[in-house]
């Protein structure tokens, strides 16, 4: 199972997009909006990377975004960026823990 499939299989994840910090679209599961998501999350990820460098916090690992009715989780991998779109009915916490567990298995 690829990293993208692994993230998409987590309960509560409604869609998953694979891209990189340049905004390049590399693949998506269960969404037709993958290119847009990859581009925007690539820019967001690289901006936070820059913020982390300025603050001396080291490289970015994950970014969790909570909205009123949905959530989103970015996972920074050595060569890629995975965006997990979380279903509106799900809370971010359990999905975030499951994604972190999956990352531990990859590494």
């Amino acid at each position: 199972m690829t990293e993208l499939e692994s993230v998409a299989s987590i309960e509560g994840v409604s869609a998953a997009v694979l891209g990189d910090l340049e905004g390049t679209f590399l693949g998506a599961l269960r969404t037709n909006d993958g290119e847009t998501i990859a581009a925007e999350m690539g820019f967001v990820g690289s901006s936070f990377l820059q913020i982390g460098e300025l603050l001396g916090l080291g490289p970015l690992a994950t970014l969790a975004i909570s909205c009123r009715a949905k959530a989103c989780l970015l996972v920074v991998r050595p060569q890629s960026l995975i965006t997990a779109v979380i279903a509106p009915s799900q809370s971010l916490g359990p999905v975030e823990r499951a994604v972190h567990n999956a990352i531990q298995e990859w590494t």
């Binding site: 847009t36 998501i37 925007e40 999350m41 820019f43 967001v44 901006s47 936070f48 820059q50 913020i51 982390g52 460098e53 300025l54 603050l55 001396g56 916090l57 080291g58 490289p59 970015l60 690992a61 994950t62 970014l63 969790a64 975004i65 909570s66 909205c67 009123r68 009715a69 949905k70 989103c72």
Partner: protein, 257 residues
């Protein structure tokens, strides 16, 4: 506002609490050790860009948590009627209790909203008067060597966007003259130096870094080419040999030569 931010800063693991307006200008700040006002002002630009792009997909975002290798950045949106949409940011290390922090930042953002909308802190909303709308992209301010104050984000120069690589990034403006970094990587390395040195010598670390840069790069903006010389210079401030080696090893991991 400072009192509210101080309350956040008093929480275990929190190193800085900062309020930015929608354009990334610093409205209020409390920070420990190296997280001084000048450094937090530098973060405002990329913060505004990140929030602007984040809002394309997540217009109704409420909070964001960025997990880094050496710490955490928590953001909370603060919608105000007087200063527009603002962002409360917490910079924390690994000792932060995330559950407590989530509650504390929510409570504090509500208090800040009331304070800003109540007009009690209007003098802190920056001397530029009105906070600009989200979507404008503030630039970093860079100054020529010997001109402290290059990072005065409260006075954005209309239409100007200085080139950091050519003019030098003002890393600090304390002391007799600004310490300049040649680029973002060099500025990040200086921050890492101050942070790592603070573990051994305390809050004097930033002063030592400034003095060290002036010693190893007396006439030029600091660049990573001088990172080894600076690390060796700073290591002399640490008495214990083991601590000294740990400090040098940490700096190598932070991109030093």
């Amino acid at each position: 506002m400072e009192t509210i931010l101080q309350g956040l800063l008093d929480m275990a693991g929190v190193n800085a609490a900062v309020l930015f307006d929608g354009a990334g200008r610093l409205l209020a700040h409390r920070g420990k050790s190296v997280y001084d006002r000048a450094l937090c002002e530098q973060v405002g630009g990329p913060m505004a860009r990140a929030i602007d792009s984040l809002q394309l997909q997540h217009e109704d975002w409420e909070s964001a948590t960025a997990q880094f290798a050496d710490g955490t950045l928590l953001l909370r949106r603060v919608d105000t009627t007087t200063a527009g949409p603002c962002v409360l940011a917490l910079v924390a290390d690994s000792t932060l209790n995330p559950a407590f922090a989530t509650v504390a930042i929510r409570v504090s953002s509500n208090k800040l909203k009331r304070t800003l909308d109540g007009g009690g802190a209007s003098s802190s909303v920056g001397s530029s008067g009105q906070a600009s709308a989200l979507g404008s992209l503030p630039s970093y301010s860079a100054s020529a060597p010997g001109q402290p104050g290059g990072s005065q984000v409260g006075h954005p120069a209309a239409g100007s966007r200085p080139q950091l690589a050519s003019s030098g990034l003002s890393w600090s403006r304390t002391g007799s003259g600004a310490v300049m970094a040649a680029d973002q990587a060099a500025a990040a390395y200086l921050t890492a130096c101050a942070r790592e040195l603070a573990r051994h010598v305390g809050p004097m670390s930033k002063i030592f870094v400034e003095e060290g840069v002036r010693r190893v790069c007396p006439d030029l903006p600091f660049s990573l080419a001088a990172s080894r010389a600076l690390a060796d210079e700073l290591a002399t401030k640490i008495d214990d040999e083991g601590d000294r080696q740990a400090f040098l090893a940490a700096l190598k991991k932070s991109g030093g030569k």
